[in-house]
């Protein structure tokens, strides 16, 4: 799955995902990626978030929506992503997944669980080229 969040020059936020899902799934199975609030979420008043991992588990917790709501309450993007991941881990300690989050002012962060590290890519006006940032899970 690719998950992406962007803020344009007007301050408008968008988020999205695209995926071919899990290998060897039962035909008809759909994961978290196309579910609003699960795979991704965006709100111009706050920012946006996207999730990736075990979609059968993640879609039960709407982690992208939760991350955006945490940022609305004043959390940093990293804290918001951590809260979303921890909410899932509290119920499923063995789950594997990650959340990325971005505020409407361009702050960003990520959190992950069940894998050693998780990479995400950032490009903004402070960089000449994109940067791959890796967070420890």
């Amino acid at each position: 799955t690719i998950g992406m969040v962007a803020v344009d020059s007007n301050g408008d936020v968008a988020a999205g995902t695209s995926t071919n899902g899990a290998k060897y799934k039962i035909p008809g199975r759909v994961g978290d990626s196309p579910i609003p609030g699960a795979g991704a979420y965006a709100d111009n008043e706050v920012g946006g978030a996207a999730a990736t991992g075990d979609g059968d588990i993640m879609l039960r917790f709407l982690p992208s929506f939760l991350a955006v709501e945490e940022m609305r309450r004043g959390a940093s993007p990293t804290e918001a992503a951590q809260t979303a991941v921890k909410r899932i881990a509290a119920h499923y300690p063995d789950f594997m997944g990650a959340v990325i989050a971005l505020t409407k002012t361009g702050q960003y962060g990520a959190a992950c669980h069940g894998i050693p590290t998780f990479p995400f890519v950032v490009q903004d006006k402070t960089r000449n080229v994109f940067e791959i940032i890796t967070v420890k899970c």
Binding site: I2, Y24, P34, P36, G97, V121, Q123, D124
Partner: protein, 184 residues
């Protein structure tokens, strides 16, 4: 001063990020950036986890899911289990812009895409067929996602049937192994 425009992307998908950034740098919208950025991954089949020819299901078919959300209007377009159409996020964008709905699924989402001018073609490749053949013939359909069925899904392929039981049997929920090449 706000740090905008800006784009962030999951995993190592830098080419998609570069495309999204080009759109933003030229003054394009966040919605265009997300659609065009993710479309790069659909074409380049990022890690086999995006686009055609990856993650075959139990029948060997690749289907696609995509979502795009506009934070300005809270409008959403999404497709799930989309068959035989490569440009999933662009179909999702058409759901957002050309319907009053939010989410279309399956064969009927394909019909919508064809109506919107998308080309219908197989999403199977030689590589995805080989993946499926190895899983089915050499690995005896392991791993899979079945529980409470017979024949024993931890050893055999289907078709499966529900085990008729007079009392509830609790079975541990075995989670999907997520790595670079297998994730939602």
């Amino acid at each position: 001063e706000p740090n905008i425009p800006v784009v962030i992307t999951t995993w190592w998908f830098s080419n998609a990020t570069v495309k999204a950034w080009e759109v933003l740098k030229e003054g394009g919208t966040a919605l265009d950036a997300v659609e065009q950025g993710a479309s790069v991954c659909e074409v380049q089949q990022c890690d086999g986890t995006v686009g055609y020819g990856g993650s075959p299901d139990e029948n060997g078919e690749t289907t696609l899911d995509a979502l795009i959300m506009d934070g300005k209007t809270m409008n959403v377009g999404a497709v799930a289990a989309l068959r035989r159409i490569k440009s999933a996020i662009s179909v999702a964008r058409h759901v957002l812009e050309n319907t009053k709905h939010s989410f279309l699924a399956g064969e009927l989402a394909t019909q919508f895409a064809v109506q919107m001018g998308f080309k219908e073609e197989s999403l199977t490749t030689a590589q995805s067929k080989q993946l499926w053949l190895t899983w089915h013939n050499e690995n005896h359909c392991q791993p899979n996602f079945w529980l409470g069925v017979k024949p024993d899904p931890t050893k055999h392929c289907g078709p499966y049937h529900e085990i008729k039981k007079s009392f509830k049997v609790t079975q541990p929920e075995v989670h999907m192994i997520v790595d670079r090449y297998n994730h939602d």
